[in-house]
Symmetry: C2
Subunit: 384 residues, 2 copies
């Protein structure tokens, strides 16, 4: 009841279409509603007119306050090293992925586009983002497991992985490989934090960290100054920087999250944000697993118990998506669609149509309706 009070009521009819195709992180709304005005930000008409946020910074459109709060949060959570890294802000991590591809490929001056790969099942947007304007600099080359070309290539390493929540390592491991670590889900609510990541290029996004997907704010931690500079160039040409309002609001939200994790600073009415998120996801995963356990049609991935440095406990992963497998020869996305549940087909992730990706980040009402309907889906032979 607590969560319901704090969510904006959708009042979904019993036969409503439930859209769990996108990873729209609306489940966090209940947390933010509880805070009331604690992280309200205001903009007067005369603020932030200029294109520039800090013309002396390598990333000249990065708000200094956001830079500070990003560093603080990584230090509080312990999920990434920030010392020795350049921070590049982007209009969500989609833009940062494109900025990285540009930054890594353009200076090589290759005659043919650089191959971009990722191991299946891979994030469905990688192929689209890489190929949509048919760049001569880079080209989607599919499953990293099947990649055997010589020469430079870029491997996207998504960890925890979207769609299946698995912790990943690069798989190609050739001499001229360039790695991009997409760590959008490396936060305590989703997965145990086993140590600070310190890869060459790491991507994060506010959307999956705090739930503020509407703001379109992501950031990259980049070790090599020339790569960072070239990413800034991409964002300069693509959108002449990143909204100042969105950056300043994101800074405030990250600040509140850091405070919520602190024994000393945290006001009593402020729940630890990551524990709150973990709790919500744990409950949802429990409901889902309990159902699937007694349903022969579906299976879910299993995750190991690991020690999380952030919570100081042994925990399992509770990923943002359920990567569900249908054990009969059936198009699982179609099957769910027949029950007015929209999911994303395994095909979109370079995988099998027996799989679907289901968002675990919806509002309570949607999740509950999903679980309710799922409980009525059994074997195809049963007429479902």
């Amino acid at each position: 009841p607590e969560d319901t009070e704090n969510n904006s009521r959708l009042n979904l009819p019993a036969d409503a279409i439930i859209n769990l195709d996108h990873g729209d992180p609306t489940m966090y709304e209940s947390y933010w509603r509880k805070l009331g005005n604690m992280c309200t930000v205001m903009f007067t008409g005369y603020q932030s007119l200029s294109y520039f946020a800090n013309s002396k910074n390598l990333c000249w459109f990065l708000e200094p306050k956001l830079e500070e709060e990003i560093k603080k949060l990584h230090n509080v959570v312990g999920n990434a090293t920030v010392e020795g890294y350049h921070i590049v802000v982007g209009t969500g991590s989609s833009q940062l992925i494109q900025a990285v591809l540009y930054a890594l490929s353009d200076p090589l001056n290759e005659a043919n586009p650089i191959s971009v790969v990722s191991a299946t099942p891979y994030y469905s947007s990688y192929s689209e983002v890489t190929d949509f304007v048919r760049s001569g600099l880079y080209k989607w080359a599919g499953d990293a497991h099947n990649f055997d070309k010589d020469g430079p290539y870029i491997e996207m390493v998504t960890s925890p992985n979207n769609p299946d929540g698995v912790i990943r390592e690069p798989v190609v491991n050739k001499a001229q490989g360039m790695l991009v670590h997409d760590l959008a889900y490396y936060w305590p609510q989703y997965t145990p934090i086993t140590g600070p990541a310190d890869y060459d290029i790491m991507l994060f996004t506010v959307s999956k960290c705090t739930g503020h997907a509407g703001s379109r704010i992501g950031w990259a931690l980049v070790r090599d100054i020339n790569v960072a500079r070239k990413m800034v160039k991409f964002i300069e040409i693509n959108t002449i920087g990143v909204s100042k309002e969105a950056q300043q609001r994101a800074a405030k939200i990250l600040e509140v999250i850091s405070d919520s994790c602190s024994q000393t600073v945290r006001p009593p009415e402020l729940d630890n944000f990551f524990e709150y998120g973990q709790h919500l996801l744990t409950e949802r995963w429990k409901k889902l697993k309990d159902l699937v356990e007694f349903n022969e049609l579906f299976t879910l991935p299993k995750f190991p118990l690991q020690y999380c440095n952030f919570t100081g406990d042994f925990t399992e992963a509770h990923p943002a998506f359920a990567w569900m497998k249908c054990e009969e020869e059936v198009d699982c996305e179609k099957l769910f669609r027949g029950h007015k549940i929209l999911t994303r087909s395994g095909k979109r992730f370079g995988s099998d149509p027996k799989y679907v990706r289901i968002s675990m980040m919806s509002r309570d009402e949607e999740f509950d309706l999903f679980v309710q309907r799922l409980s009525s889906i059994h074997g195809i032979a049963n007429g479902n």
Copy 2:
């Protein structure tokens, strides 16, 4: 003194570098400061978490309030027809330009990239934006005057033109031409409004209309639903929409501007925004012209008197940029740089290094220092 009071004081040293290379529209800060909290917007922590602004709209990430205020403002100003058009919001007009190129070229399935042209002097970003990722869909083909290939092409028609403020028509006029009208400067402070534009694709940006360049908000008015849909697709892949904070703030700012133009709604303390801007630019242009008139080294473009439907007066254009020509054989950008004035070379606009583009939209202090220094620059023979 009034303007100075209302500007954030830069306290520039007499030998400061004056950057008039970018078109950073900081001159409007004085207007917005006067308004105090009249257009303050607030965001609580729980607003706008979702990717979606209106899932039923073709442009699913467009804030309904922004759509409403865009339409209202065009009707108040009379510079564009909105009836029968689809509105697509973008992260500044740079992103919209790329979205248009994609939308027009991708469906053609041509073997070779579509040529993109514009008449010199053309906006310096067009070539960069078109070619930076070496798209196989479109390719910069330079000056529209020299274009004589058969087949489909895209012509950017910038009116008033950046850099020179001239009202333009398409110049290629071949059967398979697709026109994009970049109307960023078709607002009353810059040029007489001679009637509502009703071209197939029209681009506008908040940056040049109101001065809020830091927000990164632009919009397109698009007649063909399939072009609009494809532009939305581009923005979906490129950045998964546009910051909700920036859109909501832009909506408020456009609302205040519309109110400022209304005899009935306008509070007495609110100056008509466009008249205020026109007044500032008129003063600046007067200072600049007075100086240049008695300086044999430089010339400026001349603009015809035209009837402006918005002001109800015959006025000249007062463009956002001065397109200045140096009458001696000299690299004008270098000449100014020697006097610590950064401008953009004519070369960048496909034109001659004798020309420079100088922003007229800086803060008062910068403009005054510029004019002061300009008065000391005479013929090269004089040792300057």
